[in-house]
Symmetry: C2
Subunit: 258 residues, 2 copies
Amino acid sequence: MRICLIGAGNVGTQLGLAFYKAGHQVIQVFNRGASRAEKLASLISSEPISSLQNLKNGADVYILAVKDDAISDVFNQIRSYLSDSLVMHTAGSVPMTIFTDHSRHGVLWPVQTFSRSHKVDMRGVPLAITGNIPETTLAIEALAKSISDHVYHIDDTQRAFLHLAATFASNFSNHMYTLSRQITEAQDIPFDILKPLIQETALKIQRMSPEEAQTGAAVRRDEGTILRHLLLMKENTEMKEVYELLTKSIQSSSENAG
Amino acid sequence: MRICLIGAGNVGTQLGLAFYKAGHQVIQVFNRGASRAEKLASLISSEPISSLQNLKNGADVYILAVKDDAISDVFNQIRSYLSDSLVMHTAGSVPMTIFTDHSRHGVLWPVQTFSRSHKVDMRGVPLAITGNIPETTLAIEALAKSISDHVYHIDDTQRAFLHLAATFASNFSNHMYTLSRQITEAQDIPFDILKPLIQETALKIQRMSPEEAQTGAAVRRDEGTILRHLLLMKENTEMKEVYELLTKSIQSSSENAG
């Protein structure tokens, strides 16, 4: 496919590299900051542009890999270039209906967290896709399958819930690491001690459900340990509140499961 | 060292295998359930026992790898066999002072979660150790270093806090996976979609601090996305409460860091 890639941030860069590798022709890479557009374009034999007025007509697909709250604005700037090309965005939290008055549109959301420096193998990244009509869904599916082995049809409603679930699975679990680091730092304990445990906890749910994998004082209803933990946090009301609510939530989840 | 290993559960089994591999002599393995004692003993050329009355005198070290709340009771049953041998437990949440009237004692806590079925390389497992006097600390350190490359001196107070930190890092992060799975299940979305994201989130903090790795609507103060998330949970008061408190906690952590 002939692709115009709009956005050379973390998601745009990973997608551009994957499209190139899969044999697609990324005819243009747009980024407001010219240097990032140039950097990516040079890697994937593409043309860098830093003004949307230089966007070419007639690509097969226009992919908006820009910040969630910029999608609508960028779409309005490029719609005159689109004719009947496919347009899609890559955001988990934005409904497809943002494109509703364009005839062929959809979403391709890579369900992964990308860092600029760290290369990700896109074939292992789950892609949640949807299109506004069967024809666009099929076109997006073909494009998605050309770069990933894990393509899922996820409609707008499901994607909203999946984005919420990803918030728990990633943003909130990362915050648990932050709180644990606050505790170790205050006691001059190297945070490194906890890294293998964090890895193994994440690995464990590849083999069993998180409900089955749950361990610790909360699920054991070990009131002695819970009380000792609470005493250690008596100066830290906020952290204690998180501890108490999550302990309650673990116990209530295990009740419902049992 | 000549070791009596008391307990052939997950921790006891992993330690027994590691001691054997490191060339120590595990002279006896005790487990109340005889079959587990026999199974482990057969793997490490040891003698299985299922009654503490058969415990041998004169081992260099007696290791209590039993449930946290059984340590005190088991210690009372075996103290007449100990003479001046070293005795230690393997629990994160139990103070060393439980052994206080025995002359040589300490703790060796593997900071990792073990599953029966899944083999762990003990050389990569951090061991948090302490002894009641310099001589026992050194002996425990030597034993620990013979099986792991990551040995840390952690006193009783630090270990209590480290155990609390591990609760956040492991038990609570796992619960985040549970909540995310509850959301995907209710929407007929395969939980598998989130597994690579969970892995990468845990991997990311090997390269940067969790504070730096934090992403998502909370840290961005993206009120629109937060509001849409809250609407999706309007029927689920408990989950919504967790979401709101963790969003607040992320914002307060990022304020303090910034």
